[in-house]
């Protein structure tokens, strides 16, 4: 075969050989039978989650979810920024006052006479 004729021959042969074969009805039936129910569980897309939750009557209340998320974010910010340390120091002042053991002075019996206040 000459070089000129080869591309033409090849194109023709490829078209003949790669043509879709006639449908094999038995094979199609076998595949369709294997696809019969029960089918596996479908993968749920996140964008469909609210609809799925509604189906379960478990719809999220978005304002409450947003409020909860806001509180969590605020708490995280307060913790990270150390805004609550001032309150700690206030607690420390009270702690110093309590170290004087006022209770002992008021309620303990006098050592010589045994008299109680």
């Amino acid at each position: 075969m000459t070089n000129d004729k080869f591309p033409e021959f090849l194109d023709g042969a490829l078209e003949r050989i790669t043509q879709a074969p006639p449908a094999d009805n038995a094979a199609v039936a076998r595949v369709l039978k294997r696809l019969a129910p029960p089918l596996p569980r479908q993968k749920i897309a996140l964008r469909r989650l609210p609809a799925v939750l509604l189906d379960w009557q478990f719809a999220p209340a978005w304002p409450r979810v947003a409020a909860l998320a806001g509180c969590a974010a605020l708490g995280f910010y307060v913790g990270i920024a150390g805004l609550d340390r001032r309150l700690d120091s206030l607690d420390a002042r009270f702690a110093v006052a309590s170290q004087s053991d006022v209770g002992a002075i008021v309620f303990e019996a006098e050592s010589l006479t045994g008299a109680r206040p």
Binding site: T18, A20, R30, K43
Partner: protein, 180 residues
């Protein structure tokens, strides 16, 4: 009722098994044929067609109609076929040749069958992606752009695949054709 592929997929996404059956009956024959031509093995082709249609069911809720359903499904089938990479078992049954009829022109027919058998054998020796590009272009009549979409590549890459496939085919056939 709209029974286009896309409308049926929307129903399948909501878990409609009737729509899924319609979609399966519509596409399984073609996908089976495609898998058989790419793999060259009828049993593997059935497995691939089944797996592809199961993915249609499981992935339907996530499916976005960015491309035609048929193109997407072809892509799934081609990817599953490429995953198998069973080049050795490829046999072009449809090009295996027929019994020669002793009628006028029978000699030409026999020669014709013999050449097709050689070409089929050469296709069997191609790398999987080149073979797939050949099947989609010549067998399914897809444009280079469609083949590029199915193979998830560029049009120029498809053109390169086809050129290299033909070069490989020519190299494989050269000696055999020259003998004729």
């Amino acid at each position: 009722m709209d029974d286009s592929d896309e409308a049926l997929m929307a129903r399948v996404a909501r878990g409609d098994e009737v729509a899924y059956r319609l979609l399966s009956r519509r596409h399984v024959p073609a996908m089976l044929g495609l898998a058989r031509r790419v793999l060259g093995n009828a049993a593997d082709a059935e497995d691939v067609a089944q797996e592809a249609m199961l993915r249609v069911w499981t992935h339907a809720p996530r499916w976005q109609p960015l491309a035609q359903f048929r193109t997407w499904l072809t892509r799934v089938v081609v990817n599953l076929c490429l995953d198998r990479k069973r080049r050795a078992s490829w046999v072009a049954l449809e090009a295996a040749g027929e019994i020669v009829d002793p009628a006028p022109g029978a000699t030409e027919q026999a020669e014709h069958n013999e050449r097709d058998r050689l070409v089929a054998g050469a296709i069997a020796g191609l790398p999987a992606r080149q073979r797939t590009a050949i099947v989609l272009t010549y067998g399914d009549g897809m444009s280079n752009a469609q083949v590029a979409e199915v193979l998830d590549t560029t049009v120029s890459a498809v053109e390169t695949l086809l050129v290299r496939a033909k070069q490989n085919l020519r190299r494989a056939l050269d000696d055999a054709i020259d003998e004729d």
